[in-house]
Amino acid sequence: MSEPIIETDALGRDFSVRDGLRRRTVVAVDDLSLRVEAGESVGYIGANGAGKSTTIKMLTGILVPTRGAARTCGLRPVADRRRLAREVGVVFGQRSQLWWDLSVRESFSILAAIHGLSPERERRRTDELVERLEVGEFLGTAVRQLSLGQRMRAEVAAALLHSPRLVILDEPTIGLDVLSKQRLREFLLAERAAHDTTLLLTTHDMGDVERLCDRVLLVDRGRLVFDGTLTGLSRTVGAQRVLVVDLAEPTPDLAIADTEHLGSEAGGLRQRLAFDPEHTTAARVLAAVTERVEVRDLAVEEPDVEDVVRRVYSARGR
């Protein structure tokens, strides 16, 4: 049971790209060594072009690594690609694995045949996914006629139809509205709880990471620069938290020790104060505010992780 579900050792991949007349080598992933245990839920984040998709393609046997080695579900991704395909479910937000001219139902039944599911298992799993992802209302619709949100739900169901142990999602929430994102996240949480699935997802939406992941891997130009929890990530870069207070009466900008005043709204009825959790606490800041003015309501905003990523990058001289 102690075998990791993903393990890479100094994994790297180069691309040779044409640059005018000359050829140039792009190092997409370099010296990547990581270990993910079964049952974990990992957010794989980084800026555009950091190498996230390339890593996923190497983990699933689509791309052959230039250097190093990877093992996914204990298998060699390229050499054991076909066996691995039975253990992993992958969603590429930008690609479809459904048949555009077929209905969602037909696509599912073809995929069931592709994975060799017994009729009984196919029915049970399809029913489960259709219900949890609310796919029922458009089961009979041709894929090409689905809205983006509907299609993504169908894609996720399609990737999970064979009950994979490891689910890899490359930007699953791209382009979705708030409600659709919410639904998809809830589904993934429920799926994880029910089947103990391991989750690896890349995203630019930090809400995904906050809601879904208990571990964060941050890549910068193909290299792993952080591995830990989201709070740990915020702490390493000294990310500030923000206290938002709604006041009983319009008040001039508050000046509180150890905080930075970020702004006032509604003539001073709502004010935003940033503080560093290393130096003070939300309770202490709140106490200082209530000393001066009556507080009606309050909220503490967690750091924006996009901002955290930017800070990590700039700390690394980018």
């Binding site: 699933t60 046997g61 930008q94 690609r95 592709i114």
Partner: protein, 269 residues
């Protein structure tokens, strides 16, 4: 290395493809009609040429009908079965090929069974008609040897033609806009195969006689069953080596495919 279970997978995909083609009945008939027309025009070209010249490269019209029939029938069947390989560049450019990598079947079989163009049946019909006529109008000595040559020629011819699509598909992984480059060989080979190999220019002899052994699909079996000797560089007895030619070109095809799959660069995203 394909298990019985996988057959259900291919069948499911193909059945859905066929269903969707028959949904557009009118288009389907139009396609069928136009591909029939193309086949007839090609056959007519041969007929017109031979009625004015009578003999080319030691073959008369009825003999050439047999060459055409064998080569065209086997090629059309190969085209029906694996011709879909030539959409690979589209899959590569769009990155949709990634999806094949995520499924537990061999990539090549997935590609081949990802679609089927039933209209290509019409083409095979023309080839079959030419072959039947060719067998009737020629004065064939029906010895067991000649029957064996013909019985070998059909499956091997299909295999050789199919291999042409496969090596070309493998090459697509390396080439940008590679279809143009490989089509010259794939479709050039198809055309050359319907002509008497005895009149081919020297470079063609090497290219389609041996490297891509298209001469084995129509010309060689024809000269063998008609009791002709064939040119010095391609003696009629080589017709017995048709299975070898098929084996060779499949080696080439699978090698090309394997290299291609390993070389795959992905399409960003």
């Amino acid at each position: 290395m394909t298990s019985v279970g996988d057959l259900a997978a291919y069948r499911a995909v193909l059945a859905s493809r066929m269903r969707s083609q028959r949904t557009y009945r009118f288009n389907f008939r139009l396609d069928l009609g136009s591909s029939l027309l193309v086949g007839i025009v090609e056959l007519a070209e041969v007929a017109v040429l031979y009625t004015s010249v009578h003999r080319i490269g030691g073959l008369d019209l009825s003999a050439v009908l047999l060459v055409f029939g064998l080569a065209d029938l086997t090629y059309s069947i190969a085209d029906l079965a694996v011709g879909h390989c030539d959409t690979l560049p589209t899959y590569l450019r769009a990155g949709t090929i990634d999806v094949f990598y995520l499924r537990p079947q061999p990539l090549l079989l997935q590609l081949i069974t990802s679609d089927i163009s039933l209209r290509r049946l019409a083409r095979a019909g023309v080839g079959l008609a030419a072959l039947v006529v060719g067998l009737v109008v020629n004065d064939i000595d029906w010895t067991p040897g000649h029957v064996a040559v013909l019985l070998l020629a059909v499956p091997c011819g299909i295999a050789i033609s199919a291999a042409m699509y496969v090596w070309a598909a493998g090459a697509q992984f390396f080439l940008v806009d590679g279809a143009e480059a490989t089509n010259a060989f794939v479709y050039g080979g198809r055309y050359a195969a319907t002509q008497p190999a005895s009149v081919w220019a020297r470079p063609l002899q090497a290219l389609f006689g041996f490297l891509f052994p298209m001469a084995f699909t129509g010309y060689l079996p024809t000269v063998a069953v008609l009791g002709l000797s064939g040119p010095a560089w391609l003696p009629a007895w080589l017709a017995w080596c048709t299975p070898l030619a098929a084996g060779w070109v499949w080696l080439l095809a699978l090698g090309s495919w394997r290299l291609g799959v390993r070389h795959y660069q992905g399409a960003g995203g």
